[in-house]
C-alpha cells in the first residue's frame, strides 16, 4: 500500500494482466453498433420527408455511432476498473491509514504464527520501520 503509484512494482511482483482493456474494447464496439442502430433504426421507424435524399445517411449516423462508441467505451472502462480493482470494498480488509499520507506498507498474507515470524524476520532485515500483525476477515 502506498500514497502514490510506485514505478517498478511490476518488475518485482510480476507483470499484471488487466482485463480493463477488454472491457473498453467490447464496450466501444457495442456502443458503435448501438449508436448506428439507434440512428438508422429510428430513421426507418419514423420516416422524415427527406426530399429524395437517403433515409439511412451514412455521415450523420456515423457521428451518432461515434459518440455512443466513446460513451460506452468510457462506461465500460469505469466498470472494468471497479471490477478488476475489486472496489467497492464490501468486506473489511487490512488498511493502514498512514499509507494515505507518507508511509509505504507491504502486506504479507500468513496463515499461521510461524509463518508470521518468518515474514517478520524477512521484513525487518529488509529495513522495515515497523512490523505488525493485523487480522482480516476471511
Amino acid at each position: 500500500m502506498s500514497p502514490v503509484p510506485i514505478e517498478g512494482v511490476e518488475e518485482v511482483l510480476g507483470k499484471k494482466f488487466s482485463v480493463i482493456k477488454r472491457f473498453t474494447f467490447v464496450g466501444a464496439v457495442c456502443g458503435g453498433m448501438l449508436g448506428f442502430a439507434l440512428a438508422a433504426g429510428t430513421a426507418v421507424l419514423y420516416l422524415h420527408p427527406t426530399g429524395g435524399r437517403p433515409i439511412i445517411t451514412i455521415p450523420p449516423f456515423l457521428i451518432i455511432a461515434y459518440e455512443l462508441t466513446i460513451l460506452f467505451g468510457i462506461l465500460a472502462t469505469v466498470l472494468g476498473f471497479f471490477l478488476s480493482a475489486r472496489l467497492p470494498m464490501i468486506k473489511e480488509r487490512v488498511y493502514v491509514p498512514a499509507t494515505a499520507v507518507d508511509k509505504f506498507a507491504v502486506t504479507v498474507a500468513c496463515d499461521s504464527q510461524p509463518h508470521f515470524q518468518q515474514a517478520a524476520k524477512i521484513l525487518s532485515t529488509a529495513g522495515a520501520g515497523e512490523v505488525s500483525q493485523l487480522e482480516e476477515e476471511a
Binding site: 500500500m1 502506498s2 500514497p3 502514490v4 503509484p5 512494482v9 511490476e10 499484471k16 488487466s18 480493463i20 482493456k21 473498453t24 449508436g35 439507434l38 440512428a39 429510428t42 430513421a43 421507424l45 419514423y46 422524415h48 427527406t50 445517411t57 450523420p60 449516423f61 457521428i63 451518432i64 461515434y66 459518440e67 455512443l68 466513446i70 460513451l71 467505451g73 468510457i74 462506461l75 472502462t77 469505469v78 472494468g80 476498473f81 471497479f82 480493482a85 475489486r86 472496489l87 467497492p88 470494498m89 480488509r93 487490512v94 488498511y95 493502514v96 491509514p97 498512514a98 499509507t99 494515505a100 499520507v101 507518507d102 508511509k103 520501520g129 515497523e130 505488525s132 500483525q133 493485523l134
Partner: protein, 451 residues
C-alpha cells in the same frame, strides 16, 4: 524545482488539502452567498419571467432568431475544454506541471458543461418539450431526427458530461481515501462512500493508472468532436458567414483557448484565496502562458483564413457578410475581439509577463471577454446579413438576456465554490509524485499498530 516546492513533504500535501476543505473563513461564505444570490436573482428570476411572458422577453426576433443564449451556451461548452486539454492531453504527454492544476481544471469542465446544459433550457424558450430531443419510445411514434446537428449535439454533450463526471471521479478516488482518514461526521461518511474502500494497494494503483489513461485517450477525441459538432450547428446552415468548413477547427481551437484562459483565472484565485501558493507557482503560469500564446497564434491564423476565404470566394453574400462583420453595426466589437484575443496575448512572448500573476489574470479575463464577443459576433453578425437585403436586421440583447448571462457566470462560480469545499481541489497523490520520496524515519504521523 522552485524553492517553495523543495521543502514540501508528503504530509504537508495531505495537511494543506485537508485544510483547504475544512477550514472556512467568512470570506468564503460571503462569496458563496453572493454567488448564490446573484444566480437566483439574475438567472432564475428573469428566466421564469421569460417562461411566463414568452421568448419575446429576449431581444431575439426575425432575422436574429439566435442571440446571447446560444453564444453563452457555446462559450460555456468552450470553457469546458480546459479540463480536457490540461488533464487528458498533458497526462498523455507526461507533463509534470499539470499535476497541481488538473483537478480544478476538470471541475471547471464539469461545471461549465452543467451551466451550458441549463442555458439550453433557457434558449429553447419552451423547455417542457425538450425531452423530445431524447430517443424514447412514445405514443406519437416519433423519433428525433438524427440527421440534424442539434441531435448530434444532444448525443455529444451527454457523452461529454458523462465522460467528464467519470473522469474527475475516478481520478479523485485516492484523494477521497486520503481525506476520509482525517475527517469526521458527515464529511467522513461522504468520503467513505466516494472512496469506495480504496486502500492504495499496488493492484488498485495499477488498475487506476490503466483506466485513467484509457479514459484520457477516449476523452480527447470526444472533446474535439463535441466542439466540432457545436460548430456544425452553424456550419450546416446555408447562412453566408456561417456555412464554412473552417468552423470545426475554429471552434475547437477557440474552445481550448478560452478554456486555458479560464484555467489561468481559476488558478490565480485558488492560489490567492485557498492558500495554495506552494503548489501553484510561477512554473505553472509560465507554461499556461506558453500554451495560451500558441493557441492565440492559431486562433489568429484561423480568423485570417476566415476573412481570406470569404474574400477569395467572390460571392456577394459572403463579401457583404464579411464587410458587415468588420465595419458594420458590430464593427467595434469585432476590433475589440481582435485586440483582446489576437493582439494582447502577444505580451505572452515575454517571460516576465508570463510569470507575473496579476498581469496573467487580467489577460486571461480579457481573453475570455474577447472569446465571448467572438461567439456573440458569430451569431449576431451572420444572422443580420443573410441572402435577402430586405430580411436584414440587427440585434440588441434585452435586459433579461444580459441578466441571464451574468447569472450563468454566478451559477458557475457557485458550483465551483461548493466544489473547493467538498472535493480535494488539488490532486494529493499526483503532487506527491513530484516531491522527494519520504525517507525511513518515524515522525508525528507514525502509524501505531492496532494491537
Amino acid at each position: 524545482m522552485p524553492p517553495e516546492e523543495q521543502s514540501l513533504v508528503y504530509a504537508d500535501v495531505n495537511r494543506d488539502v485537508v485544510r483547504s476543505l475544512l477550514v472556512t473563513g467568512p470570506r468564503y461564505y460571503v462569496a458563496l452567498y453572493t454567488a448564490l444570490g446573484v444566480t437566483v436573482l439574475c438567472f432564475f428570476f428573469p428566466w421564469f419571467y421569460q417562461l411566463f411572458y414568452g421568448i419575446g422577453a429576449a431581444g431575439m426576433n426575425h432575422p436574429n432568431v439566435w442571440g446571447t443564449y446560444l453564444s453563452s451556451f457555446i462559450f460555456w461548452i468552450g470553457l469546458s475544454h480546459s479540463g480536457t486539454l490540461l488533464s487528458c492531453v498533458l497526462h498523455l504527454t507526461n507533463s509534470p506541471w499539470r499535476k497541481a492544476m488538473y483537478r480544478s481544471a476538470e471541475a471547471m469542465t464539469l461545471f461549465s458543461l452543467m451551466v451550458a446544459g441549463v442555458m439550453v433550457f433557457v434558449h429553447v424558450g419552451r423547455p417542457w418539450f425538450l425531452h423530445w430531443a431524447l430517443p424514447y419510445p412514445n405514443q406519437m411514434e416519433m423519433w428525433p431526427n438524427f440527421r440534424s446537428p442539434l441531435l448530434f449535439d444532444v448525443m455529444a454533450i451527454a457523452t461529454y458530461l458523462t465522460g467528464s463526471i467519470m473522469f474527475i471521479y475516478m481520478g479523485s478516488i485516492p484523494d477521497f481515501a486520503a481525506v476520509r482518514d482525517r475527517t469526521t461526521g458527515w464529511r467522513r461518511h461522504f468520503y467513505v462512500l466516494m472512496s469506495m474502500g480504496w486502500r492504495g494497494t499496488d493492484r488498485e494503483w495499477h488498475r487506476l493508472g490503466l483506466a485513467y489513461t484509457f479514459l484520457a485517450v477516449l476523452i480527447i477525441p470526444l472533446a474535439v468532436s463535441v466542439h466540432s459538432i457545436v460548430s456544425w450547428d452553424f456550419a450546416m446552415s446555408i447562412v453566408p458567414a456561417l456555412h464554412q468548413t473552417i468552423f470545426a477547427p475554429y471552434f475547437v481551437v477557440g474552445a481550448i483557448y478560452s478554456g486555458t484562459a479560464g484555467i489561468v483565472t481559476v488558478m490565480f484565485l485558488l492560489r490567492k484565496y485557498m492558500d495554495f501558493g506552494q503548489y501553484i507557482t510561477t512554473v505553472h503560469f509560465d507554461n499556461l502562458g506558453k500554451l495560451l500564446l500558441a493557441l492565440s497564434l492559431m486562433w489568429t491564423y484561423i480568423n485570417l483564413i476566415e476573412i481570406f476565404t470569404a474574400w477569395y470566394s467572390g460571392s456577394s453574400a459572403e463579401l457583404e457578410a464579411l464587410t458587415y462583420k468588420l465595419f458594420g453595426y458590430y464593427g467595434a466589437l469585432y476590433w475589440e475581439m481582435i485586440l483582446f484575443c489576437a493582439l494582447a496575448p502577444l505580451l505572452l512572448i515575454s517571460t516576465r509577463f508570463r510569470t507575473s500573476f496579476v498581469p496573467m489574470l487580467i489577460l486571461s479575463i480579457a481573453i475570455n471577454i474577447g472569446m465571448y464577443t467572438e461567439r456573440f459576433l458569430i451569431v449576431a453578425t451572420s444572422l443580420s446579413r443573410q441572402y435577402l437585403p430586405d430580411a436584414w436586421g440587427f440585434y440588441v440583447p434585452s435586459a433579461v438576456e444580459v441578466s441571464i448571462l451574468l447569472g450563468s457566470l454566478a451559477m458557475f462560480t457557485t458550483l465551483f465554490l461548493l466544489f473547493v469545499k467538498l472535493i480535494p481541489s488539488i490532486s494529493i497523490y499526483e503532487v506527491k509524485e513530484t516531491l522527494a520520496t519520504p525517507s525511513n524515519k518515524t515522525g508525528s504521523d507514525a502509524w501505531q499498530p492496532s494491537h
